[in-house]
Amino acid sequence: MRKSSSSPRLDALPTPELIARGQDLLSAHNYKDAIDVYKLLLKREPQPEAGWRESLATAYLERARQLAHKAMYREAAVLWENIPTICGQAPHPEGCVEWLLQSNQYAKAMRVYAQYQYTSALAGAGELETQLAALALAGQKDILQLLPQETPLRRQLATAQAALRAYGKGESESAVREHLQNIPIRSPYRDLRQALSALLKLDTDPVEAAKLVERIATTSPYHGLAEIIRACAAPEPAPELMALDAAQRELAAHLLGLDARQLKLLKDWAKLGTPPDDKALFGFIISNLTVLDQEQARRACLALLSVYPRGQPIYTQRFGPLPAFEAQRLQALYAEREHQDHRALRHWQACVDELIKERHNLDHRLMAALILRHMAELAKHGDFGWGQDPEPAHYLEKSLEFDSEDRETYLKLIAFYKDGHYEKEYHQWVERAVKQFPEDPQVLMAAVATATARKAYKKAAGFAVRVLELDPINTKARTVLINSHLAHARKQMLAGKYPLAEKELNSAGQWERENARSGIIEINRGLLAFKQRQRELMQKWFQEGLRLAGSPVLGWLRLAVEAYRLKLEPVTFQRDLGLGDPRKFTVHRAELMTLIQWVNTYREESFADIGSLLEDLEKPLKKALREISHQDDWISICECLHEAPHYELLEYAATQALEQHPGRPLFIYYQIYGRAEGDAEEIRDRDYDRLETALETADETDDQRSAMRIKRFLSQGGPPIPFRRSGGGPRSLPIPVLPPNMRAEMEEIRRELERLPPMLRGPMLERMLDGLPEDDDFPPEVQRALMKALILGDSRLQEILDSDEEDDDDDDDDDDDFPPPRRGRSRPGRRRK
């Protein structure tokens, strides 16, 4: 189309302009159109001496190169063949020979080669001759017939053939070498010489063989053979063989002495993806079993069963049945992979049951313990639906029955009970841990914490001294010791025993490092001076204490806390200190973060009035919150205010945090928790919806911390009581995960029931339960109990399930469940400001 539309225009151009146009197209590398222009000129001025003919030859040559670049060798050669007729010259004939060879036109290639062989254009065409030599050696008749006389190609062919024949016949290395030595270094057959030398060395010196083929260029026709030799010479040939193509691999397999089965193995391996799909890999192993190491293959298949359980029947058929433990373990792993946490727990439990059948076997006991610890992790992080979390602590405790020397498990139990505010269990487990690990600083520190929490300061100090003996740079132990002496000093001050108080303060001072003085001892010395009516001394110690505290707000907080501990009002000293009104303090970010840290410490020390002390600082703290921008800072601040607790500041801080991090579930939780003053009953409807949305977001983004917090709050605020106490029977079967909307539906049913007169509620519930459709997962009576528990409220679930296990005919008491306990009643660990 383009040609027909442009031709009339070109035709109309005068010759000089046409020549100029041709030149322009040539300069722009548009050789195709340049050829059209010059062909037009050829029609107008056919005389051979025209100057533009050379340009036409160039256009033909470059266009031919362009086509060859696109692997259109035949077309390239045709274009090149035009050149001699146009300008009487044949530039770069080796290109044409190469293209003719590439398009398998050997006779034509040899004719062009013979015709231009002695022109300067062929000087340095060693690669071409090497290729022609290889074709001659391969037995290409057209090449052999037309090999020019008196050329190395013809002269050395017989020697090369003899060498090849000798190698192929299996003649000795020396015999083959004799032939090879007759091939000169500059021969077109030199790469054959290298390749055969390397093949000879393959058996005796593979390293040398690989070295020999290094000299074969990548453009050489023997390069493919060189790659084969390198693969065969490799210490681990398998991966090298994979880099070869199928034909190369076949020849390599022959060289390596591989049989048909091994070759099939290589072929199948080449078809596997990287990384291979589990099913495909399983199939690959099974279909090549005869050639693979049986034990290796069995183990590989076994490993794959945890991700490809459908392979189990084939596995059983080939390797025999799986031991019961192994079958359960694989199912557990697969369930975990599929995020079916309940199912995973069930299979892990079955594993434990299998293992403890042989309790005397140490490995079995250890594995049972490890599985139980794994189950605890699964129970802690898995998704089990509303109020159905299984019992991490139960699994941990159980694991110690089989492996009592795992320190981590003790520490986990201690942390679990501590975080859950189960004081009794917490202290018990600390005691057990200390008994088991009396020389372990981490365990001893836990003992320090529990003794301090029980106000057993002497005991705490004893543990702390022991920790410092084992770990002299343990700052926490040092702090505990100082605090212990301070606590004693306060006791003495309150009892009016001032000299004894001073002695305790001196002892506290001895433990304090010179470069880490906090000012707390000095403030207590000031308070002691106040008690003794030594005003000047008091002022001196207070000034020193404030200086060491680092800032007015921190100094004030420290003094206020210490004063409260001695049942004194901090306002008494404010004037003496010249601190002014705390509500007018200026607090910067660094001071705020230190204050947050101190508040946490005071809370850990069970200082009860910290919330009311913060009230005095509300204004400056709110101002300081405006300086916060980092998310981690917001989390620390909110967490501190959540635990302190100070609801107003918490709501304020969370609202500020949400402005910077909109929609973050944790901040939504803190905001609503603060607004509802930590009481789930006080959550507004709109906030309830927001919390549920935040929970969904937290689940979707795997934000477990926020999800757990929100779940706890929504399911009544206090710490979860998801597990049976130690010493209880085996745990009940896991409860299936509820669909997300089920809880709302249950709430709706419950509300409907509550609207009925009390006497009708029980019978109505029974009728509803009678109408339940059958469920494959549970027997009808369990299904009834579950549904009833769900309708009556999450907190009744475990109780009803347990009673169902013990006594199936307990339905007579159903009416007593109405009205069911509302959310938020009788919750343990509930705190109100």
Partner: protein, 103 residues
């Protein structure tokens, strides 16, 4: 989690005890110090951590999903056979196919 077999990385049998594993680990670290081959060192270190104690080894056996390495399976299957020379005809045919584009 998929993990390269730590026993293979350290070059020890799966029945090896703590002492043998530690010895193999130290040997490997000497061969591949962190300053010379940091990635290899990391792998050795991770392998050691995975099977250091009896509990670790049992834990690895119970919970780690180790994707079988087909290369290793194939490699062990290829370690048999006697090397053979191709015949002249085979070599010529192979060369011809290579040059004429017949694969």
């Amino acid at each position: 989690m998929s993990l390269s077999n730590p026993f293979n990385i350290l070059g020890v049998a799966e029945t090896a005890d703590d002492a043998a594993i530690k010895k193999a680990y130290l040997q490997k670290v000497r061969e591949h110090p962190p300053e010379r081959s940091p990635e290899r060192f990391q792998a050795i270190r991770a392998a050691y951590e995975a099977i250091k104690t009896r509990r670790d080894r049992l834990s690895y056996r119970l919970f780690e999903h180790e994707t079988p390495d087909p290369a290793r399976l194939v490699a062990s299957a290829l370690q048999i056979g006697v090397r053979r020379r191709p015949t002249e005809q085979q070599l010529r045919q192979w060369l011809n196919n290579r040059l004429t584009g017949q694969k």
